[in-house]
Amino acid sequence: MQEGKAYVGNLDVTAKRARDILLGKVPLDKVVDWATSFSLWPVHLTTSCCSTEFAATFSPRVDGEQFGALPWVGPRQTNLIIIEGTVTKKMACAVRLTWEQMPAPKFAIAMGACALDGGLFYNSYNIVKPWQVIPIDIYLPGCPPRPETLARAIVTLQRKIRSKKVASTWVREGWRGDIEPVIPKEDLCGWAAKSI
């Protein structure tokens, strides 16, 4: 066994070695971070009424596509969830299912007062906070936030990815190092409930 050489024969071992060699180079780290930060595609997942501002962000006036963010339909082609406003328990089920379907370097922005601490629906029996469902990178205050705020949040997330090397670390290690993974504690979808 010689270090730094890839051996043909076991495909898994070879691929892992090749990945380690390539991603160990500093410029490729930078390329991964740069490419991920300029292709943050948010999924179309409208949880609540802040989605009007989400739509305004990607309309011509504050053109969200100039930052490299393009709303896309399927969760399997996207890597960003923008949680727009209140998350009810039924919607939290959908948020978590969408999050599980997205490929690995993935991020989340919580938008609006309801996504921070409940906002208008504080202390309600039927809402959850988004941080109890998925790990959140950026929080936006406002009821609702202006489209400029959301554009700023996307730019801030890009800077965070590039400065902390979030995406390349994620690709190299296989998991995200800087924040804790979140497992929902309660039964959001009601799958464990007895029939009612």
């Binding site: 328990k89 039924k90 089920c93 601490d117 409940g118 504080y122 202390n123 309600s124 029996y125 039927n126 906070k129 941080w131 109890q132 790990p135 800087d178 924040i179 804790e180 309660e186 039964d187 959001l188 979808c189 009601g190 409930a193 007895k194 029939s195 009612i196």
Partner: protein
């Protein structure tokens, strides 16, 4: 040529009430009328509910616009009111008459479903079922409509449901 008469909605409401009263009396149904500010509720006993609903449908009230429930914990009862109106009968179109029934308050209260009379009551009854836990006998598809089953089991709109007071920092992650 058909002349559209000028419509006075208070007289239309009175006419609709007269029609409903006549329809119920001709079937021998015992009822009482409660008058409020701009509305009339016809309260019947539980065993007359389906017969009264059928009589009102024959009298021209062809759909349910809403179904409301009020919880009276001190009197230990629920009051259900079906709000009825008409599309097809021009004389009473626009007037809303309530058909109410009172249910004793228990763990599993139940009333006969009026989905067999008015199909438009189906989703309203499902919503009442999940928020108040009132079961409708003979409903074709009695499942929670808006809530997930763990929340619907709490019966959240009953008066004795207590919302837990949250600390303002509850669940906030310490870092990140």
């Amino acid at each position: 040529m058909l002349q559209a008469p000028s419509r006075d909605y208070s007289s239309v409401l009175g006419l609709a009430l007269e029609k409903a009263k006549n329809a119920l009396s001709s079937k021998g149904i015992v009822f009482s009328v409660e008058e409020g500010k701009g509305f009339y509720d016809i309260i019947v006993e539980r065993e007359y509910l389906v017969a009264g609903a059928t009589a009102l449908k024959e009298a021209g009230f062809d759909h349910v616009v809403s179904l409301t429930v009020t919880d009276y914990p001190k009197e230990k009862k629920f009051r259900l009111v079906y709000h009825l109106t008409s599309y097809l009968d021009y004389e009473i179109a626009g007037a809303i008459i309530g058909l109410g029934v009172e249910v004793p308050r228990s763990d599993r209260p139940s009333v006969p479903s009026l989905t067999q009379v008015w199909r438009s009551a189906e989703f309203q009854e499902r919503e009442v079922y999940e928020f108040f836990g009132i079961e409708f006998e003979g409903h074709p598809d009695l499942r929670p409509l808006l809530l997930t089953p763990p929340v619907a089991e709490l019966r959240p709109l009953r008066k004795d449901f207590v919302v837990r007071e949250e600390n303002i920092y509850e669940g906030v992650p310490k870092s990140g």
